[in-house]
Symmetry: C2
Subunit: 145 residues, 2 copies
DNA sequence: AAATTTGTAATCACGACTGTAACAATTTTA
DNA sequence: TAAAATTGTTACAGTCGTGATTACAAATTT
């Protein structure tokens, strides 16, 4: 029914899915079961699972007894891998329309900002590269205790 | 007329505005003049100028000979200040609907992700804090030469 | 008084996003 | 072989964010 959306939450949902699969210890999980924990529609889960599968992070099977499992141990799956698999946002956007080439600022600001934004995004990605799904599982267990 | 918008470009526009004001060396710039370089509508410029003014980064005057100037030297204005003034986006969003509290993962994943996302955003902000408007001006001049 | 400029509200068109229904394809089970 | 379960994918609806635009009051200079 399209409720309030401030921005995309695919990364959050994807990490949630991967955490459930890790917790499920190799037993295939159905999109219906995952959707109950995430509190959304199973199609939303299957869409995200599809993106994760294309990135090689999960494997899925159709049919009776079908479902999805993690393709790799939680220790080697980083949040950066999950982010790249489901979210293509890349920081602040450049101008909608190209700025004036007749202006000394307008003529050169875009490549300058591209570099600066890229280095900022790179710093963010570095943090996600240092965090694994196993770290997520540990933090969850610590909070549950 | 509402063209294609992948995500907001207010940060880019704000840096462009500040660079123009820096280049203008204290002479008040009108929103019409700025809009020509940025290639957008003057109201869009005034909206962003308004946000920059609320953050204390620019000063504006109405009336004939009105316009805007930088409130501080380019050396002390960081991209982080500009970003915070105009963009309130804060990385990947959490779940649309709260996840199931009955699930061991669903019950605890949100605070875990909040922390991890915050540390990633903090790394990004750190890069923007180390870059000043003067750096932007230098990079532009280097490219113009 | 006239001209200029900002500040701000209202509105429009468009795209992104999530949720939902529908259904073919695949796989297991009886 | 038939039935049931499950994924994969398309299509579409509702809502929101975004930038462009119009309009006009408020402020300032000439």
């Amino acid at each position: 029914m399209g409720l309030y959306v401030s921005k995309n939450c695919r990364f959050t949902v994807a990490v949630h899915i991967c955490a459930l699969l890790a917790h499920n210890a190799g037993k295939p999980a159905t999109s219906d079961w995952i959707a109950e924990s995430v509190n959304t529609n199973p199609v939303v889960i299957r869409r995200t699972l599809s993106a994760l599968a294309k990135a090689g992070l999960v494997k899925s099977w159709r049919g009776s007894n079908g479902g999805s499992v993690l393709a790799h141990p939680a220790q080697v799956v980083t949040l950066a891998m999950i982010f790249r698999a489901v979210d293509d946002s890349e920081g602040p956007a450049l101008h909608q329309q190209p700025p004036s080439a007749d202006c000394p600022i307008g003529a050169h600001i875009q490549p300058v900002l591209v570099d600066m934004i890229a280095s900022a995004e790179s710093a963010r990605e570095k943090v996600f590269s240092a965090l694994t799904l196993a770290d997520v599982m540990n933090s969850i267990q610590r909070r549950a205790a």
